[in-house]
């Protein structure tokens, strides 16, 4: 058999703390930018959250957008957006939430189907009333908050509160900037994107766990090494794994982005962004933060290491 290619040949010796202040500033800027963008232009919520109607039609020939627009416009349904995507005969129709609740919503769909007449193939129709939309928003916020809390609890249990806190700050950073990315680009934010946000949280903490695990191991091994040097060493030792795994995950979600089709596009965009950010935040946000929380090189980390449960043998 041939000799395997090793991307990271031997344990590198990079100083990840060298730029940590610059990275803190950069992260703060990204988070701030996300908050500002969310506050000023908000998110382009999909039908799932905003309520309203989404219809995807395919016309036999190239779609006559003007004709469709005027036919639907006559129905007085408020804001109607028509958009071609992919082929010239695929049209996405979005109609804003109707006043008058669920019944008005359903009546509007019926009216649109009637106005457009036969000859169109209805590939997808989604109607979400205000009640369900509001519930999806609450459910989404609950899912994100609770998964952050659950992850933090588990991390604190396994690695102590410092690792828990810095891990959660890192994933908050990832989630916030992902949502911010969707705000800046005004890409549609729907249920699938929300699923991606929660997954990013899980993925990003995955990375942090691997490094924390190594930190714990090294704390036992090197009793007097300054904490900063010890964290650095741990990151370096796991670098090969970080490069390979994150590279593979990136490729997998990138395949989804290119080939997964239109419905999964938002999900794949969020995941691609999240994988990159998650890798960065583990090294440049979580790790330095843990260092600060442990009082830098005061030896706190070594003293309190005993509090964390010992690594059990499988």
């Amino acid at each position: 058999m041939f000799k395997p290619i090793r991307l990271v040949k031997k344990v590198p010796n990079l100083d990840f703390f060298r730029f940590h202040k610059l990275c803190f500033a950069l992260s703060a800027l990204l988070c701030l930018g996300s908050v500002v963008s969310l506050a000023t232009q908000g998110l382009n919520f999909g039908v799932d959250f905003a309520g309203g109607i989404l219809i995807e039609v395919r016309s036999p020939g190239p779609a006559n957008l003007g004709d469709m627009r005027s036919k639907i416009g006559e129905l007085n349904l408020g804001d109607v957006a028509l958009q071609e995507f992919g082929a010239s005969n695929d049209v996405l129709i979005r109609i804003e939430r109707q006043d008058g609740g669920e019944q008005a919503e359903m009546a509007a769909v019926g009216a649109v189907r009637q106005a457009l007449g036969t000859g169109y193939e209805y590939r997808r129709v989604e109607v979400v009333g205000p009640k369900v939309g509001a519930e999806l928003v609450t459910g989404g916020i609950l899912a994100v908050t609770l998964s952050l809390a659950g992850i933090m609890g588990y991390m604190a249990l396994r690695f102590g509160w410092r690792a828990g806190l810095s891990g959660v700050v890192a994933i908050l950073h990832d989630c916030l900037t992902t949502v911010g990315f969707f705000s800046v680009t005004q890409l549609q934010f729907d249920l699938n994107v929300l699923a991606a946000v929660v997954t990013i949280a899980g993925f990003s903490i995955n990375d942090t766990v691997v490094i924390d695990d190594r930190i714990r191991e090294n704390l036992r091994k090197y009793k007097v090494m300054p904490f900063r040097q010890l964290i650095n060493r741990s990151i370096n030792e796991t670098m090969a794994r970080t490069v390979v795994t994150n590279g593979l995950v990136f490729l997998a979600v990138f395949a989804l982005l290119i080939l997964g089709g239109q419905v999964l596009f938002g999900f794949a965009v969020a995941m691609t962004w999240g994988v990159v950010l998650g890798t960065y935040s583990t090294i440049y946000v979580a790790a330095p933060m843990e260092w600060y929380l442990a009082g830098r090189d005061t030896g706190n980390a070594h003293r309190h290491e005993d509090e964390a449960p010992a690594a059990a043998k499988p």
Binding site: Y122, R124, A143, M155, N192, F203, D213, L248, A255, A312
Partner: protein, 525 residues
């Protein structure tokens, strides 16, 4: 140590084999798989409506209507119970959840209380010494009422949908007062929505012929009657009738209803037949009221109000009105299926055409295969022979995930396919962690045996920790997510759990087996 007991090895291999066996039916066409004998694995992954095409409707039962009706009945009870013994009262009023009135003669409180209790044992009666009565239902009774209304609605929805000839519809209760209706293969649910949009409560009531419509329009109605519009028109206006509130016979006593044509006029009509109880009552009422108008009321509207010419004793009759073929057939269908106890609202509709569904499957499958192949190639490039072992484990991970989904009959949705792709990437992480650890141990100068041994055991805890954190996120996503997103959480969770097995147990078994056979001096990693 690197000794795997025979029984452990056997269990691992059996589990892998079972995975292959239970995933296998997915390769067969659906008909073939369904015709397999039951002792063979024959279940396939069930596809979500977003993949197979179909319509998903979330309905809400308006249970407030049911409780309001019950309160209105309570108000009627007060009127009728006090009429005979001539108990005087004032200020009779029904609020959302209570009926109240004041007795004229506080001395008769106990008598009134007894009469009310006889009339309705469920109501809670409170009375002040000066004769102020409040009647309400305990929450338990109202909850039973709501639950019964939802149960009955589910049954009626099922019957109505069955009447439309939809294949394999699924009707499920969701939460307290919701019904999830899934209609595979339906790409225009308009007709179903129309059929579910009517409660179809039909009653036969006598028309009060002495009351004047003009007076009634001004709000002065004889007691126990109400003013209802009709479908007949009179000078451009819908005609109105003053009808008794009390139903003489109601639609739930029907045994059959069919659309047909009237023999004389050729008009579309609905022929119906009562059960024995209904037939008797219908006969009695028509016998005693010859010459009066008998209104057929559907959902608060008079369809027609024919004159009773003679007693109708046969138990069957005919409804005429301004029907078309479609509306006569619809009404007959609704009468056969029965009335909904309360109106239904459609809260959400998601319909996917069959073509988009198969396009999504194709795109998802391609993404899955490309992702898998990319990972495979890179794993072999990166870890050589060990990469190959990881790829086998990875393929088995995918197979076991599908097998578990088939057995649990979990639904595969489009986001679920994304979960499969992501699960693959997560599964490979376990292998990478192990292999990198083995490399490190080798660099420290350990022998192949000891490097492999400590590689696996040291990586184990890291894998466990990192998988549990991801699992926490996936489980919460399942708990609070909805619809298709749940499918994502399911495939991701199953994939992660399966990866613990394939990456740790299975990979270890293969590596140890190979080590013992080949006894290499240097690990090819």
């Amino acid at each position: 140590m690197l000794i795997i007991p025979r029984w452990k090895a056997a269990i691992i291999l059996l589990a892998a084999l079972a995975g292959l066996l239970y995933a296998a039916p997915n390769l067969l066409p659906r008909q073939v798989a369904e015709s397999l004998p039951t002792w063979l694995p024959h279940q396939q992954v069930s596809l979500g409506l977003d993949l197979q095409g179909g319509s998903h409707l979330l309905l809400e039962v308006d249970t407030a209507v049911v409780t309001r009706e019950r309160i209105a009945n309570l108000q009627d009870l007060v009127r009728t119970a006090f009429r005979q013994p001539q108990i005087g009262y004032t200020d009779l009023a029904a609020r959302d959840d209570a009926v109240s009135f004041t007795l004229r003669d506080p001395a008769r409180i106990e008598e009134a209380r007894r009469l009310l209790r006889e009339g309705d044992a469920d109501a809670e009666i409170t009375a002040t010494p000066d004769g102020r009565f409040t009647l309400r239902y305990p929450e338990r009774v109202l909850n039973d009422l709501r639950r019964a209304a939802v149960d009955q609605s589910i049954e009626i929805v099922r019957r109505r949908v069955d009447e439309t000839g939809t294949k394999e519809p699924s009707v499920q209760r969701q939460g307290l007062n919701r019904i999830l209706l899934q209609l595979p293969g339906i790409d225009d649910p308009q007709r179903v929505k129309q059929l579910l949009g009517r409660t179809a409560k039909m009653t036969f009531r006598l028309v009060d012929m002495n009351a004047s419509i003009e007076e009634a329009r001004r709000g002065r109605l004889p007691p126990g009657t109400e003013l209802l519009p009709s479908e007949e028109r009179e000078g451009g206006q819908p005609r109105q009738y003053v009808v008794q509130r009390r139903a003489m016979v109601s639609g739930d006593m029907l045994t059959n209803a069919q659309a047909g044509n009237n023999a004389q006029t050729g008009e579309w009509v609905v022929n119906f037949r009562f059960d024995s109880n209904g037939a008797r009552r219908f006969g009695d009422v028509t016998k005693a009221n010859v010459g009066r108008l008998f209104a057929i009321v559907l959902d608060g509207k008079v369809i027609s109000a024919p004159v009773i010419r003679e007693a109708i004793l046969g138990g069957s009759g005919q409804i005429s009105g301004s029907f078309t073929a479609q509306s006569a057939n619809d009404l007959a269908l609704l009468l056969r299926a029965g009335a909904l106890p309360a109106p239904l609202n459609v809260l959400e509709e998601r319909t996917v055409g069959p073509d988009l569904g198969s396009d999504s499957i194709r795109a998802g499958t391609i993404a899955c295969i490309v992702g898998y192949l990319l990972i495979c190639v890179l794993m072999v490039l990166g870890y050589g022979f060990f990469g190959l072992i990881a790829n086998i484990a990875l393929l088995l991970n995918l197979i076991i995930t599908l097998a578990v989904m088939s057995v649990l009959q979990a639904t595969l949705t489009l986001p679920g396919i994304a979960g499969l792709v992501l699960g693959l990437a997560m599964a490979v992480d376990a292998n990478v962690l192990i292999y990198e650890r083995i490399r490190e141990e080798t660099t420290l100068g350990r022998t192949p045996f000891s490097a492999v041994d400590s590689g696996f055991s040291k990586a184990f805890l890291t894998i466990l920790d990192s998988n549990i954190t991801t699992l926490i996120a996936a489980v919460l996503l399942y708990a609070f997510g909805s619809g298709a997103v749940r499918g994502f959480a399911v495939t991701l969770s199953i994939g992660i759990i399966a990866s613990m097995f394939t990456a740790i147990s299975l990979t270890r078994l293969i590596v140890v087996f190979w080590l013992k056979r080949a006894r290499p001096a240097v690990l090819p990693i």
